[in-house]
């Protein structure tokens, strides 16, 4: 038996990860709250009014981080799913499952804020723009993942089936994105281009970055919170759960 310098798998077992997650949650939650306050303050009060879009543009401080996060969470989910299939670790699938609702929430938030922004800017709630359409399809992928997870009663099978689905989905995401983009350029001659990024004031960029970090911290905190709940639910018959202080109390 070779001795490893670092035990990579130490925190891959629920009994050792559960207390660690419990310690990490307040840290990320407080960070999320502080960053949110700073980001909101810069976004709503410090950042200058946009020359073309007026005050309405300020919704991007919520919209852009939400879209980024929704895409990124899907990739992280696929990563944990691959880990789960390769190493057969329980915690990896639990992580993927815990991330999915947050990702779906961000995708929905991005769609809602996008259409709220679109109404005053474009005069319409919805445009079949490449980005909007692929965000919508991403939302559908999340919904499919959650539905499959909910439909399978056996948690082990649900984990693995969802892992396969997440991997199939992540392969498809770029294909879907490019197909929609080409479809869009074929269909619409004079659509509104969202790609020409206006030179952004530095404070606007700062506000957006702070809000993006807020979204990160929030996602980590919520995913850890949810994964703790999943661990307790799945391992309720295990000894270590019975020995927890909060369970004994």
């Amino acid at each position: 038996m070779t001795t490893r310098l670092i035990n990579w798998f130490k925190y891959s077992s629920p009994p050792s990860f559960y207390p660690l997650a419990g310690k990490l949650i307040p840290f990320f939650a407080v960070l999320a709250a502080l960053l949110c306050i700073a980001g909101m303050w810069i976004g709503l009060f410090v950042a200058p009014t946009d020359a073309q879009q007026g005050e309405g543009y300020r919704i991007i401080f919520l919209h852009v981080p939400a879209s980024w996060m929704s895409m990124f969470i899907y990739i992280v989910m696929a990563f944990w799913s691959a880990m789960a299939l390769v190493f057969n670790t329980r915690l990896s699938s639990m992580m993927a499952t815990a991330l999915a609702p947050t990702g779906a929430m961000f995708a929905a938030l991005s769609l809602i804020t996008g259409s709220l922004w679109g109404k005053p800017m474009w005069g319409t709630w919805w445009v079949w723009d490449a980005r909007l359409t692929s965000e919508l399809i991403l939302f559908f992928l999340y919904v499919g993942y959650l539905a499959l997870n909910a439909a399978i009663d056996d948690p082990r099978r649900a984990d693995k089936a969802c892992a396969v689905l997440a991997l199939v989905g992540v392969v498809n995401v770029p294909i879907i994105y490019f197909s929609v983009q080409w479809w869009n350029t074929l269909h619409q001659g004079a659509s509104i281009s969202m790609t020409r990024a206006p030179s952004m004031a530095r404070t606007m960029l700062l506000g957006m970055l702070l809000m993006a970090l807020t979204a990160w911290m929030y996602s980590i905190a919520v995913a850890l919170y949810r994964v703790r709940a999943i661990m307790l639910e799945r391992e309720r018959h295990a000894d270590w759960v019975g020995e927890l202080a909060e369970v004994k109390a």
């Binding site: 299939l85 399809i137 559908f140 992928l141 919904v143 499919g144 539905a147 499959l148 439909a151 399978i152 082990r156 099978r157 693995k160 089936a161 396969v164 689905l165 991997l167 199939v168 989905g169 392969v171 498809n172 294909i175 879907i176 197909s179 929609v180 080409w182 479809w183 074929l186």
Partner: protein, 222 residues
């Protein structure tokens, strides 16, 4: 390898022959759905020409979904699937044979029927070429992606609706390029690029989809 592959093909073909109504149901579903659109939207030829390619593609997509949940379910119920998974020839080939025959009995008739229905939509003869070619490349792709969904939802309650929910978003690229090819031809543009992309996706799916399907079936059998 080849003999077991051919044996599966033969078996699936016989099964389809014994249950002709299953195949005909899919076909008539395709015909009826495409006939509903002119009734709902109106018989104006210019409008029909515009929506024709899209409607035919969406109808083809929905009709491949129709029989999909039966693809592995019957074999799971009588234990055949388990025997296949345990048998010495590679399971991937047996699964591949099942998917191929599923396409031959449900996808291919749709492809053959599509030009005829295209005429109903007042598509000119030059657009029927890319339509049929696109469906010829696209329907096997739909069958393969559908098979992944069918394997993942094997034996679950509400399998049919769940299957649609999983598979439809993944089929969007095929739909975009398939219907796009016909629209490019109508607009007087080159449509070979669309078909090449469809063919590329088909080749990629032919390699990866059977692997994903076998993985999913093994999960379901555990």
């Amino acid at each position: 390898m080849t003999t077991s592959f051919l044996a599966v093909l033969h078996r699936e073909f016989l099964l389809a022959l014994r249950r002709k109504s299953d195949v005909l149901t899919v076909l008539f579903f395709f015909v009826i759905v495409t006939s509903l659109f002119p009734l709902a939207i109106g018989p104006e030829p210019r409008l029909l020409r515009t929506i024709g390619p899209g409607v035919l593609w969406v109808a083809a997509l929905l009709s491949t979904l129709l029989g999909l949940h039966r693809l592995f379910a019957d074999d799971l119920a009588d234990g055949t699937l388990e025997q296949m998974a345990l048998s010495p020839p590679a399971f991937v080939w047996l699964v591949g044979g099942k998917i191929l025959m599923h396409w031959i009995v449900t996808g291919l008739p749709v492809v053959l029927l599509a030009p005829l229905l295209g005429l109903q939509y007042d598509l000119d003869t030059r657009s029927l070429g890319p339509l049929t070619l696109g469906l010829l490349l696209g329907t096997p792709l739909l069958s393969m992606i559908g098979a992944i969904g069918a394997a993942l939802t094997l034996g679950l309650r509400g399998g049919g609706a769940l299957l649609a929910l999983l598979v439809l978003p993944l089929n969007i690229p095929a739909l975009v390029f398939g219907a796009g090819a016909v629209e490019a031809q109508i607009a007087g543009l080159d449509y070979t690029g669309h078909l090449s992309l469809l063919a590329a996706m088909l080749v990629a799916a032919a390699f990866f989809a059977p692997l994903a399907v076998t993985a999913a079936i093994r999960i379901a059998l555990e």
